[in-house]
Amino acid sequence: MFLEIKDLSVKIENKNILKGLNLNINKGEVHAIMGPNGSGKSTLANVLAGKEDYEIINGRINFKENDLFDLNIEERAQEGMFLAFQYPVEIPGVNITPFLHSAINSKRKRMNEEEIDNLSFAKLLKSKASDLGINIDMLKRSVNTGFSGGEKKRYEILQMSILNPDLAILDETDSGLDIDALKIVTDGVNKLKTKDNSFLIITHYQKLLDYIKPDYVHVMVNGSIVKSGGSEIAAEIEKDGFQKFQ
């Protein structure tokens, strides 16, 4: 099993958010989680990435034969987990290029791969950026600083394509995107899809799933998955909303 979440219960500030959640993802699969606001979708993404504000009260998560809870944030990232944030934070003064360069090298170091030098990295970055229709000038700017909502999301996908993760978690990547931006972003994701990597797509609306075809769709309500199936579920939600699952 590639990612296995078993009986996961999580709370924050004495409030139970996840309640006995189960989810299995195999290599090469695309999973979508849909759910109303406050159902715990983003919490799941952050717990997977290792954010420290949560208290795990029960359950376990295995990721590529590791007990995920043994790894800290950066170790999970270096093992190939990538979270595309819903609200990417601005980091003024920190230039994108060296930032991504150190990120990719810390991953390579852990994998005992040779570090990539300045020049090759710059080349790689440029080509990936142009694939995503990202202006080269944007690469001279500070991380997420002064970016529009769409630029931030596109830039998350750029990082994802550079770091080439085994498991990519997209947290509401479609929120705040107009249709053109959504196309660019989802094209980027589709290009990255191989038989060796997996995607976990978290979304509120069905729209995104018109562009990225999931193998499985899960409905999450009140901290646990209440229904799983194929893409027909997404259409059901589109029609009737989440009401009937609650």
Partner: protein, 483 residues
């Protein structure tokens, strides 16, 4: 705070100071203590003319009546001025060596270790260096090339001998010896330092640089720097400093005076990395420095950039007196304090002329048990029509045992002048840390990256050669492990 942050902090506090070695060299010192005889000894050693000695003695008599300024947010035991050597020179330096073959190899080795090679062929291309070891200037590189342009770059001792008219006219003209007790003290006992004169219309083609090193024990360093940029000229000047690790506190009280005439520009950059003391607060340099620039002529500009990471105590306010109409003053500062360091630093912008402009960007970072204060004054005098100031000072706190303080004084007496001031204090942003770590950076790397980003506005003002060094220094001050 989570445990990882604590671990990182712990690594940081074990700051290793890589410049802490001592050069074992014979030196010559007068008796400890300050009196007229000490001053006469210094003046004699420097072979100074009588007017210079009298100037010093006058400053000394002023100093005797003065008390140390007390308004800074610093605490330290009283300085015993009678327990300090006021002069120390490697033996054989009665006269400055003509070339490096006359310099003690141990000294050359010292500077190689510090990354400041003295042999010209190895010197960083495009940087002329004057090297001051304890109380004397040991070498000045690229002198000949500069002379062709009429640029004078030499030790202040040499300038007193060779260019008495310029010295008489300008020394003490921006910082009067009686300004405060440290300026009086420096005026009385200054031993060496650099002198720069850029003639009318000349743009100095290379960075001029002075490297200060305190070596001898219980010795104060009192250097004096004087830079004059004549009409329409330009110069960029760099200053670096280090000292060995010692358990006692050592006093450093320098004076730097800048004069920019009409249309002239002076850019003065400092990377201050004096020994800060150990992680228990023992030892370290007391750094009481007075730096002041006078924009004397129309359209002149003086720009101060400083990266302050060293010293047990930093007391330093590089200032600009904007006298000429349309003149510009700038101050860019990064001050990092760790362990038990205390810094009280900032600037003073005095707008006298019309249309004068000033800009202040200050970034303070406090770690460990340190105290970091920004103190700045901006004043618009009555006649400073249309003057403008923009001030931004931000502080970052890493750990919950340190302090960050902001004390701006804003005084406007002109109704056409505009002043804008912004300041903020916060801890390092947890969301930024999370984001960087999610991309695979370690906690320590992430902190260093974010802090460097926080300082970028200032670091980018440094000349290229220095900027890279300064960035490393910022990271080192945080992590304490040197590659």
């Amino acid at each position: 705070m989570n445990s990882e942050t604590l671990d990182t902090l712990d690594t940081y506090s074990k700051n290793k100071y890589k410049y802490g070695f001592v050069t074992d060299i014979d030196d010559e010192k007068p008796k400890k203590g300050l009196n007229e005889d000490t001053i006469k000894f210094i003046s004699l050693k420097k072979n100074e003319p009588e007017w210079m000695l009298n100037w010093r003695l006058k400053a000394y008599s002023k100093w005797k009546k003065m008390k140390e300024p007390k308004w800074a947010n610093l605490s330290f035991p009283e300085i015993d001025y009678q327990d300090i050597y006021y002069y120390s020179a490697p033996i054989g330096f009665e006269k400055k060596p003509k070339d490096l073959s006359e310099v003690d190899p141990k000294l050359i080795e010292t500077y190689n270790k510090l990354g400041i090679p003295l042999e010209e062929q190895k010197v960083l291309a495009g940087v002329a260096v004057d090297v001051v070891f304890d109380s004397v200037s040991v070498a000045t590189t690229y002198k000949g090339e500069l002379e062709k342009l009429g640029i004078i770059f030499c030790s202040i001792g040499e300038a007193i001998q060779k260019h008495p008219d310029l010295i008489k006219k300008y020394l003490g003209s921006v910082i009067p010896p009686g300004d405060h007790s440290f300026s009086a003290l420096n005026s009385a006992v200054f031993t060496d330092g650099s002198f720069v004169y850029i003639p009318e219309g000349v743009k100095c083609p290379m960075e001029l640089s002075t490297y200060f090193r305190i070596n001898a024990e219980n010795t104060g360093q009192f250097e004096r720097t004087l830079i004059i940029a004549d009409k329409g000229s330009y110069v960029s000047y760099l200053e670096g400093c280090t000292a060995p690790k010692r358990d006692d506190n050592q006093l450093h009280a320098a004076n730097v005076e800048l004069i920019a005439l009409e249309d002239a520009e002076i850019k003065y950059s400092t990377v201050q990395n004096w020994y800060p003391g150990d992680e228990n607060g023992k030892g370290g340099i007391y750094n009481f420095v007075t730096k002041r620039g006078l924009c004397a002529g129309k359209n002149s500009k003086i720009s101060w950039t400083q990266v302050e990471t060293g010293s047990a105590i930093t007391w330093k306010y590089p200032s600009c007196i904007l006298k000429g109409d349309n003149s510009i003053g700038e101050f860019y500062s990064v001050a990092i304090t760790n362990n038990f360091q205390q810094a009280d630093t900032g600037t003073k912008m005095t707008h006298i002329g019309k249309n004068t402009k000033s800009k202040i960007i200050s970034k303070g970072i406090s770690l460990g048990k340190s105290q970091n204060t920004y103190r700045g004054e901006v004043s618009f005098l009555r006649k400073a029509d249309k003057a403008r100031n923009y001030t931004q000072c931000d502080s970052l706190l890493v750990g919950n045992q340190c302090g960050a303080h902001t004390v701006p004084y804003i005084d406007s007496k002109n109704n056409t002048a505009v002043i804008e001031h912004e300041a903020s204090t916060s801890k390092i942003n947890e969301d930024q840390l999370y984001y960087c770590r999610q991309r695979g950076l370690s906690h320590e790397e992430a902190v260093s990256l974010i802090v460097n980003g926080f300082c970028k506005q200032v670091l980018q003002e440094l000349p290229m050669e220095f900027a890279v060094e300064a960035q490393k220094l910022v990271s080192i001050s945080l992590e304490g492990s040197v590659g």
